[in-house]
Amino acid sequence: MSSGLNEDFLDCIVRLEETHIQQGFDEGYEEGLVSGREDARHLGLKLGFETGELIGFYKGCSALWNSALRIDPTRFSPQLHKHLNDFHVLLEKFPLLDPEDEAKDGIKDDLRLKFSIICASLSISKKQLEYKGYPNPSSNLDF
């Protein structure tokens, strides 16, 4: 017990540097939390906006195409009807309120492909419809 007390007594001198380091770390951590939260908030807003913009764009296109379909169902081929339906189903399935959902990226890729197919089937250029800031495909690491 007394030897234990002696070690503790000496410890605060011997470990003075460690104590300072720990104090510095703790202060930095606290400040980091504050600025980190602020950065995270900005990033979250940015990514949230981009996702909302993309899904909103797709939903707008889907709504327009489906209205055209209701006016004249015979105008489009049965295959195109199916593509538009698949597109609609994917949009409903998209986890808009759950950013942690891992299926999100897979659905985004499927939506992107479906959108390309529908444009190609309608013989319209994707570029004519795409808004400024339409994202590139998610996996860009190709050589």
């Binding site: 295959q79 492909l113 197919i117 190609a120 089937s121 013989s123 994707k126 495909p137 190709d142």
Partner: protein, 352 residues
């Protein structure tokens, strides 16, 4: 007629100059290169964003550039293919589009542009009847397009499955079965069982099927359609075969199996392989050489084997990107395209 017995050589007939960048691919017009009294026509496509149409003069027997298809593609034209009727030329470009050009005698007009791929289109192929086209891209997908009236093209199917850049697509010479090969080392076979336009991947030829161990660059079928040759970055050519009668009877899918691997003949990537009507396989490789192979006709339990007929060193001054036999009977003409910017016409002839 045993080719190995004859003393054959590959003679350079002519060097076609004009492109200002590497030439990626050549394609013989299927109609004009065969008919009597009609001059053979060859298309070549290049990194200079253009396609050149070359014709052989019936008088002088020399080849000249008849026309240049330009100001449409904004990037390299990687591949070109004539429709079976010889009337249309499809051009696949790094700008993400596929151009369809119609032959109006002395001029070609771009009558349609197929968009859909995310990035560079690598290859284009017409099916045997000319009713469908297939394209493939670095975006890992294969698209099938249906030819409609009035220069209209409809997207019939988008096939995903490859895990990397798809290098080439090739329709089977007689049936509507599509083949694709990729940077992912596999060859995929796509077939619509009920012929309803719903294509599925019915077979993947990978390393476990004795397949290639690196990028597969090219696929070519023999005239009968029961064998195909594939070439790869793994320095081998592989011969595959199928029970064509079973496939044609329409009962079910007859799988392709590995028959033979030609290894030890190449020490650089083989970019192109083409199977001639009289069963000579030509290969173009990264060592600037062209090689010709023939079936050794040795009856063996292990399957067919092939011999090197001849090797043309320094066929070009750089990588040989494409080799294509002329579809004409009897003349044994071979066209080659290279990174050196040249297209060359060769003739396989007996040494004097």
């Amino acid at each position: 007629m045993d080719l190995m017995e004859k003393n054959l050589e590959l003679v350079e007939i002519q060097k076609l100059e004009g492109h200002t960048d590497r030439v990626w691919s050549v394609a013989w017009n299927p109609v004009s290169s065969q008919a009597d009294g009609v001059s053979p026509i060859l298309a070549s496509c290049s990194g200079d964003n253009t396609v050149r149409i070359w014709e052989q003069s019936s008088l002088s027997r020399s080849w000249t550039c008849k026309t240049v298809l330009e100001e449409t593609h904004t990037r390299t034209v990687r591949s070109c293919a004539w429709s079976p009727s010889g009337q249309l030329l499809a051009t696949a470009s790094f700008d993400g589009t596929t151009g369809i050009w119609k032959n109006y005698g002395s001029e070609f007009d771009c009558i349609s542009t197929l968009e859909g791929h995310e990035n560079e289109v690598k290859s284009v192929s017409w099916n045997a009847s000319g009713s469908h086209l297939a394209t493939c891209s670095r975006d890992k997908s294969v698209w099938i397009w249906e030819v409609l009236e009035g220069n209209e093209y409809d997207c019939a199917a988008v096939l995903t499955g490859h895990t990397q850049d798809v290098k080439m697509v090739q329709w089977h010479p007689t049936m509507d079965v599509l083949f694709s090969c990729s940077y992912d080392n596999t060859i995929k076979v796509w077939w619509s069982e009920d012929d309803d336009g719903e294509y599925q991947c019915v077979q993947t030829l990978g390393e476990s099927n004795n397949g290639h161990s690196s990028t597969v660059w090219s696929i070519s079928f023999n005239a009968a359609g029961d064998k195909m040759v594939t070439c790869s970055d793994d320095l081998t050519l592989k011969i595959w075969g199928t029970d064509i009668a079973r496939m044609q009877s329409g009962e079910d899918y007859a799988p392709w199996i590995h028959l033979c691997t030609l290894s030890g003949y190449h020490d650089r990537t083989i970019y192109s392989a083409h199977w001639s009507r009289d069963d000579i396989i030509a290969s173009g490789a990264g060592d600037n050489a062209i090689r010709l192979f023939v079936d050794s006709k040795v009856d063996s339990v292990d399957g067919p084997s092939y011999n090197l007929l001849l090797k043309k060193n320094k066929a070009h001054e750089n990588d040989v990107n494409s080799v294509q036999w002329s579809p004409g009977e009897g003349n044994r003409l071979l066209a080659s395209a290279s990174d050196d910017g040249m297209v060359k016409i060769w003739q396989l002839a007996t040494k004097p």
